[in-house]
């Protein structure tokens, strides 16, 4: 396989030959790692840049790869030249490749494979909507049926990205519409989607089937109404943690807009749509949607109403239970046993969530389904350990459990005693402030590690932690893939020894050999990052806050974490020197985010100058009054084929 050379000859000489801009390249599939230390690219970026390839093209042959394929349409009866036959065969074979990483690799073999792969790719995954332009994507891939787009960096969830930063889906839809009339699925994460965008989706794609919006904003029930009304083949409408623009007096009755005949709905998740809705319309909709398997309603649904919904849809597998309390007066309230009957009749339920305003007296109603539950989300239910215990004791097959820290260490101990098959645990804080009491601690973490050896993913908010408990988890749970520990008080050391938390996190990276995602917290010195760099060879996502002593921390990470894709840093003492130590590695990453560190414009400009295919954004907060300042508050840099974007607002300075 020919090795594309780095295209930009003006790049710093220390970039190894083997490292190219093409992030999608892998030397081979999983087995051999290249001797020259080539980095394994993002499995989920499609972009092996065509410009790169064509520059390296030895020049012989047909010329521009954008030339339309000479094949006679859909395998017509005409005689095809021999290499055309080969290409047809190749396409039939490549149809079976589904993983983007495999496809990316295949597309690099030669131009013929590149073309064949481009014709057969069905799902387009774009991890950063600004890394490539819609036009380029659409020109390369002609037969796409599903598009996944991600926009803002994750720290936008915590109000660190100012409003109006970008990630608009409109330009994408403008290109996707004409190019893919047969498009069936769109999944968007952290993008701004307007009602007009939703209307455009409904208009452009007559076969549209699945819409998934996660952490998006910009639309309202008006847009939902258009989708409901016009997407006659809709199977999935998943709205997860979005911010809708409605006011209570302006909302639209979108549920009534679904077709009046039987629908093909399989999944309807709208627990984040906070405005009230037409319950009768929903009940009727559920009754005429025989394929419905997943339903999550918002908190405006009482247990009485829930019961009626469950009666209409006994085949549900996933249920979001709404408020889980009664709306009726004391005499008319549904009895617990009647509600339990409803649950008993739902023989397929495996995933429960909701419980938004739970009256814990109703919890026993779910006992009939507990034994079959694989996923339970109590993270909006403020339960004590006494309220949790009788429920969790029945959930022997639980694999995913989300809960509030109100259950305390004792509640977690009960989880550990029963849920030996647990794979994912998330413990959220009821009081998400630095100075809160914090109800769970190292004791709960230790208990979980002892009771749940198959744990793969954990997110744990607490105020008190010890290295010993973290070390114990690293040893008891060797299958950990995701370890996110958030000690909410900043710079907190081990609560017993007073030491930094370096050794705990060091043990995690050392012992959990499958770890790909890590979030650190507590008092941490450069030593922690030395461990991370030394042992965290599979880490793709690293989140750092209020940690480290010096630029060495960044250097350890850049040099050691060879698979690093996404690095998010806040409020840590890293300056230009640390930033520049990453120059050789930025092209292999999807992005770097740093806010409130010690960066200056000089350092950021140097990165921008040396790395032509990086977009370096310096972002100011609205409230920052100073005009030009040398210190940089927020830095967001990402590789891109397109150069600076043209939709940046005034507070974003692209260097």
């Amino acid at each position: 396989m020919s090795t594309p050379r780095s295209s930009s000859t003006s790049s710093p000489p220390q970039i190894p030959q083997s490292l190219t801009l093409a992030p999608a390249r892998t030397a081979s599939t999983s087995s051999s790692s290249s001797a020259s230390g080539m980095r394994d690219a993002a499995e989920d970026d499609f972009d092996s840049p065509p410009s790169q390839m064509s520059e390296d093209d030895p020049g012989g042959g047909v010329g521009d790869r954008w030339e339309p394929d000479l094949r006679g349409g859909n395998g017509g009866a005409r005689w095809a030249p021999p290499d055309q036959v080969l290409e047809n065969v190749l396409e039939s074979v490549l149809e079976f490749l589904t993983a983007a990483r495999d496809r990316n690799a295949a597309s690099l073999v030669c131009r013929s494979w590149y073309r064949a792969e481009a014709q057969t790719r069905r799902e387009l995954f774009i991890g950063n909507c600004y890394a490539v332009s819609p036009r380029r994507a659409v020109e390369r891939f002609s037969r796409v049926r599903a598009v996944v787009l991600k926009g803002k960096p994750r720290f936008a969830d915590f109000s660190l990205v100012p409003y109006g930063w970008g990630a608009y889906v409109s330009p994408w839809l403008a290109a996707l519409g004409p190019a893919y009339p047969r498009l069936e699925r769109i999944s968007l994460k952290r993008m701004t989607v307007t009602d007009e965008d939703l209307a455009l989706i409904a208009k452009s794609f007559p076969l549209f089937k699945e819409l998934s919006l996660v952490c998006c904003d910009g639309f309202s029930t008006l847009g939902l109404a258009v989708v409901a009304e016009r997407c006659r083949h809709l199977r999935v409408l998943d709205l997860i943690e979005d911010y809708l623009e409605d006011e209570e007096d302006e909302m639209v009755d979108w549920i009534s807009k679904f077709p009046e005949s039987n629908t093909s709905l399989e999944s309807l998740l709208f627990d984040c749509v906070t405005v009230p809705f037409n319950f009768h319309a929903l009940e009727a909709l559920v009754a005429r949607s025989p394929a419905l398997r997943q339903l999550r309603v918002n908190h405006h649904v009482s247990v009485e109403q829930l019961r009626r919904l469950m009666a209409r849809a006994p085949q549900l597998t996933h249920l979001g239970t709404g408020a889980f309390r009664s709306e009726a007066g004391p005499d008319g309230a549904l009895s617990v046993s009647d509600l339990a009957t409803s649950f008993a009749a739902s023989r397929s339920l495996t995933c429960l969530s909701g419980f938004r305003e739970v009256n814990s007296e109703y919890l026993p109603a779910i006992y009939p389904v507990c034994a079959k539950l694989t996923s339970l989300n109590f993270s909006f239910a403020s339960l004590t350990s006494e309220e949790l215990k009788p429920v969790i004791r029945n959930c022997v097959n639980l694999r995913t459990f989300w809960v509030l820290d109100t259950v305390g260490d004792e509640g977690l101990r009960a989880v550990a005693e029963t849920c030996s098959d647990l794979r994912e645990l998330r413990v959220f804080p009821l009081d998400a402030t630095e100075d809160s009491e914090g109800s769970v601690s190292d004791v709960g973490l230790q208990a979980i590690s002892e009771g749940c050896p198959k744990l793969e993913s954990i997110l744990y908010f607490c105020q008190r932690m010890t290295n010993a408990a973290v070390v114990a988890m690293s040893k008891n749970c060797p299958d950990l893939v995701v370890f996110r520990l958030c000690i909410m008080g900043r710079h907190r050391p081990d609560r017993i020894t007073g030491e930094p938390m370096d050794d705990g996190f060091g043990a995690i990276v050392m012992n959990c050999k499958k770890l790909t995602r890590l979030s650190v917290s507590g008092l941490l010195t450069d030593k922690a990052f030395a461990y991370i760099g030394k042992y965290g060879k599979l880490i793709k996502t690293l989140s750092v806050a209020f940690a480290g002593n010096s630029d060495m921390s960044l250097q350890y990470v850049f040099e050691g974490c060879t698979k690093l894709q996404k690095l998010e840093v806040r409020d840590s003492p890293f300056g230009d020197k640390g930033l520049l130590s990453g120059l050789d590695y930025f092209y292999n990453m999807r992005f770097l985010w740093m806010n409130s560190c010690r960066l200056t414009m000089r350092g950021c400009r140097e990165v921008a100058q040396q790395m032509q295919n990086l977009v370096v954004e310096v972002i100011k907060d609205h409230s920052d009054d100073e005009g030009e300042s040398e210190t940089v508050d927020k830095l967001y840099l990402y590789r891109s084929l397109e150069g600076p974007r043209n939709d940046a607002p005034p507070f974003v300075n692209i260097l």
């Binding site: 915590f158 990205v161 100012p162 409003y163 804080p429 909410m488 609205h622």
Partner: protein, 217 residues
Amino acid sequence: MADVASYAADDVDNLKATELRLGLPGTEEEKTTAALLPTPPSTPRGKKRDVISGAAEEEAAKTAPPAAKAQVVGWPPVRSYRKSCFQQQASSKSKPPPAPEESAAAGAAGALFVKVSMDGAPYLRKVDLKMYKGYRELREALEAMFLSCFVSSGAGAGANADAPAVNPSDFAVTYEDKDGDLMLVGDVPFDMFISTCKRLRIMKGSEARGLGSLKNN
């Protein structure tokens, strides 16, 4: 009545005279004006950072020592979606039909859009309170938004032919706060106002004259 009052005052003075306290007799008890600023965050920058309701905390600090440590934006890393759900839970438990807390989009993104209605205007507008540094800017923006349309229509042979030249002192800017009460804009510090304002209403005419005017805000 006056006698009673002065009698009471004397009483207080006498109490003070017999009060046991440390310090040399004759020295005045000082009122410590705890003009506590939010503690500078322990981040390396040491520059002014965005602190959530920093000014509101300043107010609290004057009345209740010790000042709470200034909260840092986005820490702990709990999604605004989750935080706003608990706000909703709290408000729906405490009072029936809850007016929505600041629109969820604002909570997440840092903008703060509120509706602005003006008596007599055919439609409402929305402003982002975070765009303004103080009352003066807000007032100017509102004047630009609303008064200009009245003036121009009055000048032409338009519908409002009988409307006299618009006088800003005929208008009062009021707002509806978290408790649903109608308040006059301008009494509290701007940052505190932002955190409690749910919508704005520009009142005109006789209702307004008693309350004060745009000019005085």
